[in-house]
């Protein structure tokens, strides 16, 4: 739960930071794009049945680590901002958190030979 909320906060920070820090238009637009996507998947991952969409944020986090070089033209500040967000969101998206309920084997059961909900 807390891992998801921190990731929501990081996504919001990426959306807000162009208004707070002196970022270039290119860096700002990149953050306007990834910020809301991170927030959305972090929100959906709060629910136990859809917890594993957190791995989408793992991918986004890894992207943030290389984005300054792939996109180019990132100042030191822009690079630090995006990479710090990338490190945090990658780590936190790997935190599974508590799963208190069972879901008949979950989504993967739909592809299994002997799903849990049929045993």
């Amino acid at each position: 739960m807390w891992a998801r909320f921190i990731n929501i906060g990081i996504g919001l920070w990426l959306m807000v930071s162009p208004a707070v820090l002196p970022l270039s238009e290119k860096a700002a637009e990149h953050q306007y794009l990834v910020g809301p996507v991170m927030v959305a998947f972090a929100i959906i991952a709060i629910s136990e049945a859809t917890r594993n969409v957190r791995y989408v944020n793992t991918l986004i986090g890894v992207w943030l680590l290389v984005a300054p070089w792939v996109l180019g033209d990132h100042s030191t500040l822009e690079t630090l901002n995006v990479m710090a967000a990338g490190v945090l969101i990658t780590g936190l998206s790997l935190v599974k958190g508590k799963i208190e309920n069972r879901f008949g084997g979950g989504w993967r059961s739909l592809l299994e030979e002997t799903p849990e909900h049929m045993q």
Partner: protein, 194 residues
Amino acid sequence: MASINSPSAVSTDDPPGWTYNPSAWSERIPIAAAAVIGLGIAVYLSLFQLNVVGSVWDPFFGSASSEKILTSSLSRVLPIPDAALGAISYLLDAVSGVIGKTRRWKTMPWIVLVFGFAVGPLGVTSLFLVIAQPVFFQAWCSLCLASAVISTVMIGPAMDEVLASLQYLQRVKRSGFSVWKALWGDAEINRQVA
């Protein structure tokens, strides 16, 4: 297996292998309530887009910023204003959320799937519109963001019920019955398949 100390854990309405019933009213009412709030916001915003109200309330970015978004070219891409489309989607969410009894994951899989498909695309569209606001129009719209948050918050809680229905249809298929009939709630299949 450790049982969870929630009241629904003993309910016979739980799908096989589940610790609670995703079609219980306690699961569905909050989602429907969120949809109704979203509907209210979307109706208000579409009234502005249809020139019924003259200005839009925006405590954070100012009315001018909201109105820039709501009168943008993107908001007019479709034959009806985008907020009106949102209102229709929220209405579909709310209606498909409350139709059916507490075993509807099994007795009415079709409405559960309609519900799931109604909640999903609304969230995706909202996400796109949130990205479009600063990137294309350099402006924000508080109520549009609130609507986007509501539509995103609904997705996770709605999907467990979809999973329960899909698992039921999987059991139907493995048991050799018609998935098509089961989708529409065939009573005989309901009796035969858990």
